[in-house]
Amino acid sequence: MPQALAEVSDKPQGTARPASRAPRSTPAARTVLVRAAAVLVLLGVWQLLALAGFWPPVILPGPVQVWDQLLITSDAANGQGGYAGSTLLERLGVSLRRVGYGSAYGILIGVVLGLVMGLVPLVRAVTEPAVTFLRALPPLAYLSLLVIWFGIDEEPKVYLLMIAAFPPVAVATATAVTGVNRQYVEAAQALGASRGHVIASVILPASAPEIITGVRLAVGIAYSSVVAAETVNGADGIGGMVLNAQRYNQTSVVILGLFVIGITGLLIDTAIVGVQRALSPWRGLV
């Protein structure tokens, strides 16, 4: 009897998906091409402006000078160990490590706090203004306090990035948790799921896409705060390099630093979006 039932051929509902995905490859390739062309045009205009000499190189160095700085600061054997003792790559590693730790702690705190905020209205009522308050503060403002409390080593830098990173995750998680479809929760309860099961196996996975959007914001904010975090005894990082170069009017190094931060930030964001797609392939389909 069941074999006969298996042959019922009602139409699959998921057909919309391959249909809408397949033709995207050509426009995607075109998008990449258009973007590359736009970047090249901008670089060309920039180089022309620099060559025209409206401004001295200390105000506007050209892309070629910035490229030269990339090669110089990446060269450990250039007599100053890259730039002021560390190569560009070492600096990038140091900064990414700070951002990594700061974001990781921030995300952990944000998810846990957001989960509790979403599940217990009282906690939300109490903590939400505090989280919003913290969010409004520029990281540079609370760095002073962190330095007084924790000194000038790694702790205040990681803590600063953590404080910058956790509010968007907490807010995104709390919103996602309150917005979880009650229907899934009821279905799980009727299957014998305990409260812990419901949280771990329904509420968290159902919230995952929105939580990751919060993570995306958080990592972006943490990364953009790295220059602030490295204003005190952070000369070994990429932000430290920018600050140092500014002191000596090495404009091309400043611009190089901005490009390195911007491009790696873009790559990190792309990676997070990839993780989001992999973790929640049902997004927009259910």
Partner: protein, 259 residues
């Protein structure tokens, strides 16, 4: 009569209402109803007669505003002694088809080594043995509802509650699923409460039908359905004169509730 522990569900003087800005709106009752093991009770009634509310009270999702609801002698709480199939399949999209059933088995404390075998058995029982690794949105609506039924049966609940489970499906799929449900719930001892607004579906499935009146829903008719089911095909059953007689009686009762 005092409630009997062997009743799967026992409702005494049950009323339910909803609070709105305009005041309390009675939705259901007063109702007395007892569901015994082996019964396939179908609840028929017009929209707004409180059919779904009745089911949600037995499931433990809602508490009655008056009266007592007992399930297996205790206050109902959603849990594994009851299986619920909703109008929407409510499959977890973050799990595969097999993962949905695996979760139900895990929550029912089925030991890990047994779960994959039980998952395969349950999927085979609803005719979807091949679909375990698929994503829930990649399969058809009818297949999704089959998975939902398999998932609801995972913990071998004594009572299965089904809230218009086939309302969103096309007529052919619907008939196949009705036949499916009949064969899956033939187990003696298990009870089913099935809510529908389709008289045909009710007569085909039921061992007993209650018809609810318009809001607030009360029991207008309570009849046992005695159709010969052994050794007769679904089509023969649907074509039999006895079936037509029951169909006429129930349809008349439903029409009377709305006039």
């Amino acid at each position: 009569m005092a409630s009997d522990a062997t009743a799967l569900a026992d409702l005494v003087d049950v009323e339910h209402g909803y609070r709105t800005k305009a005041g309390a709106v009675p939705a259901l009752g007063p109702i007395d109803l007892r569901v015994d093991p082996g019964e396939f009770l179908v609840v028929v009634g017009p929209s707004g007669s409180g059919k779904s509310t009745l089911l949600r009270l037995i499931a433990g999702f809602e508490r009655p505003t008056a009266g007592d609801v007992l399930r297996l002698g205790g206050t109902p709480v959603p849990g594994r002694d009851v299986g619920v199939v909703f109008q929407q399949p409510r499959l977890f999209p973050w799990q595969t088809v097999a993962g949905n059933i695996g979760a139900a088995l895990r929550w029912a404390d089925v030991p890990k080594p047994d779960r994959s075998r039980r998952t395969a058995e349950l999927l085979a029982a609803v005719g979807l043995a091949e679909l375990g690794p698929r994503r829930t949105w990649e399969i058809s609506g009818g297949q999704q509802q089959r998975v939902a039924i398999a998932r609801a049966l995972a913990a071998r609940p004594k009572l299965l509650l089904m809230d218009e489970p086939f309302a969103a499906l096309d007529a052919l799929t619907r008939e196949r699923l009705q036949e499916d449900v009949r064969s899956l719930t033939d187990d003696a001892g298990q009870g089913v409460v099935f809510v529908t607004h389709s008289v045909d579906e009710a007569v085909f499935l039921a061992s007993r039908i209650i018809v609810l009146t318009d809001r607030p829903g009360r029991i207008a008719l309570d009849v046992p359905i005695t159709l010969p089911r052994k050794g007769i095909s679904a089509d023969e059953l649907r074509g039999s004169p006895e079936y037509a007689a029951f169909r006429g009686e129930i349809a008349a009762a439903v029409r009377a509730t709305v006039s």
